[in-house]
């Protein structure tokens, strides 16, 4: 008996094609028209799930009248009426959904500002914070150290001494 109850309720659930989970009270007077993207009573403009579960606007007497007219020949509807019917059920058209937002401009702009702040920090540090390099970084010192490295035959296989021709006493 319990299994028969279970199966009959399951059959009823299968018959329901519409959204039937909680939240019905939060949508006001808006009509439920389908399953939507996840079975809940929410409206979302999505190009991959184009038919939301509920209409966008609440049903008013004008719209109800238009819907009756819609059941007849569509050629009798004026353009304004068609637009009104669309806007009652949907918030944005596909063109509006896919329209570029121009967000990239502010993103690039802010990124440039932050990068320039970083560069300024670096410049000011270089000017005011860092000490002088030690004298071993002068050209003369570096040459003397390089000569010593060549004399010591440092890294003779693939490194610096391999690039020096010892017989001629000059770089290869």
């Amino acid at each position: 008996m319990a299994s028969r109850l279970l199966f009959s309720s399951l059959r009823q659930v299968q018959k329901l094609q519409k959204a039937c989970i909680h939240g019905r009270s939060r949508i006001g007077n808006r009509e439920v028209v389908g399953f939507g993207f996840n079975g809940q009573y929410s409206y979302q403009d999505r190009i991959d799930f184009p038919m939301p579960a509920i209409r966008f606007k609440e049903s008013t007497p004008d719209i109800v009248a238009l819907r009756e007219k819609e059941k007849g020949d569509w050629r009798k509807l004026t353009l304004e009426e068609k637009k009104a019917l669309y806007r009652a059920s949907f918030c944005m058209t596909f063109t509006e959904m896919n329209a570029p937002t121009g967000e990239w401009k502010s993103i690039i702009g802010i990124a440039c500002v932050l990068i320039s702040i970083g560069i300024w920090v670096f410049i000011l540090e270089r000017l005011f914070v860092y000490k002088e390099l030690p004298t071993s970084f002068s050209e003369e010192s570096k040459k003397a150290q390089l000569k010593r490295m060549i004399d010591l035959r440092v890294n003779p296989i693939e490194g610096i001494s391999s690039k020096f021709d010892y017989e001629k006493g000059e770089w290869k």
């Binding site: 799930f49 030690p134 003397a144 150290q145 010593r148 010591l152």
Partner: protein, 199 residues
Amino acid sequence: HTLMIITMILAMVLYFMASMIINELVDRYMLEGQTIELMWTIAPAVILLFITTPSLRLLYLMDEIHNPIMTIKTIGHQWYWSYEYSDFVNVEFDSYMTPYESDNKSMFRLLETDNHVTLPMHSFIRIIVTAADVLHSWTIPSLGIKADATPGRLNQSSFMINRPGLLYGQCSEICGANHSFMPIVIESVSTESFIEWIK
């Protein structure tokens, strides 16, 4: 060759990024692809197994000891190294960094020491590294050696030097204020010169 690989990878990634930005289509069923997620977890694991097996074998092969003819002990202190040659005669000395003199232009700043570790060429040498106070690390990059000096522990490493000259290294484990100022210099000499020196 390396540049070619880098360029290819970079170009591929940029192409993917650009195509994703320009793409206006949406894949509804991108989430919860259980089969493909299983495959792309198992496949790299298998690949890694194939990489690990020879790598581990090589790692253990590299640690072989080849009957060294002498042993040196290195003890790291704050902030100098001390060396002991205890095989034939008992030689012990400390090795401090020599401060930089601006008139000696060919001096390598922060790399020279007062006493060099003199070692004979073409001989297998075992070195035992430890420390007296805090962690140090005895490194000679040109020999490919790095051995941590841990107080209370003896770490062993072995090497053979194939050519004469000076080999430099620096302490590689932070050990206090003068951690950058305790270098190591190995002077590799012929066996006769070494015997002369050690007497």
